[in-house]
C-alpha cells in the first residue's frame, strides 16, 4: 500500500540535500546544511587555550551553543546542546590537543523537521572545515514510523506531527566502509552498524525500532557518499 507523502516523495526518498563550507570568513571553520526546507548553520572556533572548570585537562573539551531561530534559549535547546556535545566528543580525537576548548555554534535558520540530524551533519562538516582531527564522520538521519507500520525516511514537520513516532539516529562513517575488505568487525557486525546517537519520540514496538535502524543505516550509507564528495 503506497503512502501519499505531502510532497510526493517515496517512503525511502530523502529531501534534497545541500551543503556548503567556508561560508563565514572570521570563523576557523563553518558550514551550512539544508535538507528540504530545514536549514542550519554552524561555526567552529578553536582549539582555544584552556578548558572549562570540571573538565578533564588531559583531553580536549568541546562546547556547543545552540541558537534557535526565534525565542530565548530554554530546555529544548540545552538538551540539543548536550546531545550534540556528546556526539561530537565521540567522533573527535580528544588526545591530540589536550587542555583546549573548541566551540561549535549552531544557528537554526529554518526548522521544517529533522532538526537534530541536520545539526549533527552540519557540525561534522564545520569541524572538517576547521581541520579538527576526527576519528570518523557522523552521519545522521531521521526515520519515522507511520500509524500503519511503514517506515518513512526524513519526514518534514507536518509529517513528524502525524506519525506514531520518529527516531533521530547518528551512525559513524569511516573511510574503511569504502573498502569492503578493510572493514572492522565486532561480533560479526561491521563497526559502522553501531549507533552513536539515538533519540526517539513517541511509542513504538522494539521490532519497529530495529526496522527503523536498518532503514536508517542504509540511508546513511547513501548520504555519506554525498558528504564525502562534497567535503573534497
Amino acid at each position: 500500500m503506497e503512502i501519499d507523502r505531502g510532497d510526493g516523495r517515496k517512503p525511502n526518498q530523502l529531501r534534497p540535500v545541500a551543503c556548503s563550507r567556508g561560508i563565514l570568513n572570521r570563523a576557523h571553520g563553518s558550514a551550512s546544511w539544508s535538507q528540504g526546507e530545514t536549514k542550519v548553520l554552524a561555526a567552529v572556533y578553536g582549539p582555544k587555550a584552556g578548558t572549562k572548570k570540571n573538565e578533564n585537562p588531559e583531553k580536549a573539551c568541546f562546547e556547543v551553543i545552540w541558537k534557535p531561530k526565534t525565542g530565548q534559549i530554554g530546555k529544548p535547546e540545552k538538551e540539543c546542546e548536550m546531545i550534540l556535545k556528546r556526539t561530537l566528543q565521540s567522533i573527535c580525537l580528544l588526545n591530540v590537543h589536550p587542555n583546549t576548548t573548541t566551540s561549535i555554534i549552531i544557528q537554526v535558520v529554518n526548522d521544517d523537521g529533522g532538526l537534530l540530524p541536520c545539526a549533527i551533519n552540519v557540525a561534522c562538516a564545520a569541524l572538517v572545515d576547521a581541520g579538527i582531527p576526527l576519528k570518523h564522520l557522523a552521519v545522521a538521519i531521521c526515520c519515522s514510523l507511520a500509524k500503519n507500520g511503514r517506515v518513512l525516511l526524513d519526514p518534514n514537520k507536518s509529517e513528524e506531527q502525524n506519525m506514531k513516532g520518529f527516531v533521530y539516529l547518528a551512525f559513524p562513517n569511516s573511510i574503511q566502509s569504502v573498502l569492503p575488505e578493510g572493514s572492522l568487525q565486532v561480533g560479526g557486525e561491521p563497526v559502522e552498524h553501531g549507533i552513536i546517537t539515538s533519540v526517539t519520540h513517541g511509542a513504538m514496538s522494539v521490532d519497529d525500532y530495529l526496522l527503523c535502524l536498518q532503514r536508517g543505516r542504509a540511508a546513511c550509507e547513501k548520504l555519506s557518499v554525498f558528504i564525502r564528495s562534497s567535503l573534497k
Binding site: 550534540l84 513516532g165 547518528a170 557486525e189 511509542a203
Partner: protein, 302 residues
C-alpha cells in the same frame, strides 16, 4: 600507559588511593571478574524504595530512592481555562530541579547541566507514552480544566537520575487524587473543603467525589552503561563519570518502546547491545511494577 603504571603501583598502594588515581583500571579489574565495586553483578540494579504520600499538602506525591539517588515528586492541581484548540483537555507542566544539596558539583549560582536535559526528557517521555489522557483533566468543557504542576526535586544525585525521576513521577501520578470542586455563583470553580462538605450543599459539586487519575500505561526505565563489551545496569555517579556512554531504555506496561535515548558517547551501540539493554529493562520493569504496586496498596490500606 596509565593502566600499566597502575598495575605496577597497585600492590604498593591502598585501595582508596588506587580508586581515586586510576579509576578506570580500578573498575576494569572488577569487570574482569564480572562484578562491580559495590558488589553487584553487571545486570543488577540497586535496591529501590518507593514511598507515596510524602508531601501532605500536595495533591499527589512520592519519594523514591534507587540506591542513594533520591527524588521527591509532588503534584499540585490548579484550575485554568483550557486553550481554544483543545477545550476538552487539561495540561501538565513538568519541572525538574537539582538544588545544591544533591551533589558537590552543583553550586547555587551555577545550575547543573543535567537539570534541563532530564526535565525535557521526562516531559517528552510522559507525553509520548500516553500515560495520561488529558481529557480526564477537564472539568467544564471550554471553561475550566485542571493544570497539573509536577515538580521533581533531586535530593541526592548518585547516578541514574532519569530512572529515579521517572519512577517518582509515575508513583506521584498513581497517588494523585483530584479534589472535589463546585461552580459558585460568579461562575468560578471553588474547592469544597472537607469541613463543610457534610450536610448542606447549596452548590452542586462538579465532580462527585475525590477520584484518582486513570493511567493508561506505566512507563518505566533503566539506564545502562556500555563499556567495551560490558553492559552495566543502573550506574552510580562514579561509574557514569568514568565510562561515559549511557543508554536509557523506557518501556511501558505492554512492552512498547517509549524511548531509546543514547546521547552520543565514545562507545557505539551494536544491535546486539541494544537488544541486551532492552532485555535487561524488561526484567527491571517486572521488579519495579511489583515495588510500585506494593507501595500504592500500602498507602490505600492506611
Amino acid at each position: 600507559m596509565a593502566a600499566a603504571s597502575g598495575s605496577d603501583l597497585s600492590s604498593e598502594m591502598e585501595v582508596d588511593a588506587f580508586r581515586r588515581l586510576f579509576p578506570l583500571s580500578f573498575h576494569e579489574r572488577h569487570l574482569l571478574k564480572s562484578i562491580r565495586p559495590d558488589g553487584r553483578t553487571l545486570g543488577k540494579a540497586r535496591d529501590t524504595i518507593i514511598s507515596v504520600g510524602a508531601v501532605t499538602s500536595a495533591n499527589g506525591s512520592a519519594l523514591t530512592k534507587i540506591g542513594c539517588t533520591t527524588m521527591l515528586a509532588a503534584i499540585k492541581l490548579e484550575v485554568m481555562t483550557p486553550t481554544v484548540e483543545s477545550p476538552d483537555e487539561g495540561c501538565i507542566a513538568i519541572d525538574f530541579h537539582m538544588p545544591p544539596i544533591c551533589s558537590p558539583i552543583v553550586r547555587p549560582g551555577r545550575p547543573a547541566e543535567a537539570a534541563p536535559v532530564v526535565a525535557k526528557q521526562l516531559s517528552g517521555t510522559i507525553l509520548s507514552s500516553g500515560m495520561i489522557d488529558l481529557k480526564e483533566l477537564s472539568l467544564v468543557s471550554g471553561k475550566a480544566a485542571w493544570m497539573a504542576y509536577l515538580d521533581i526535586y533531586c535530593l541526592d544525585a548518585d547516578g541514574s537520575l532519569f530512572d529515579a525521576a521517572l519512577l517518582s513521577a509515575v508513583a506521584a501520578f498513581s497517588h494523585l487524587q483530584i479534589p472535589v470542586v463546585s461552580l459558585n455563583d460568579e461562575g468560578r470553580i471553588v474547592l469544597i473543603s472537607e469541613d463543610n462538605g457534610g450536610g448542606k450543599l447549596e452548590k452542586e459539586p462538579v465532580n462527585k467525589e475525590k477520584r484518582k487519575l486513570k493511567l493508561a500505561t506505566i512507563p518505566l526505565s533503566l539506564t545502562c552503561i556500555l563499556h567495551k563489551n560490558y553492559i552495566l545496569a543502573d550506574p552510580t555517579a562514579e561509574e557514569e563519570s568514568i565510562m561515559e556512554t549511557l543508554v536509557t531504555v523506557v518501556l511501558d506496561s505492554s512492552s512498547q518502546l517509549v524511548s531509546l535515548y543514547k546521547p552520543g558517547g565514545p562507545v557505539l551501540a551494536q544491535t546486539s547491545a541494544i537488544q541486551d539493554c532492552v532485555a535487561l529493562t524488561r526484567q527491571r520493569l517486572k521488579e519495579l511494577q511489583k515495588i510500585l504496586n506494593e507501595a500504592i496498596s500500602d498507602m490505600e490500606v492506611d
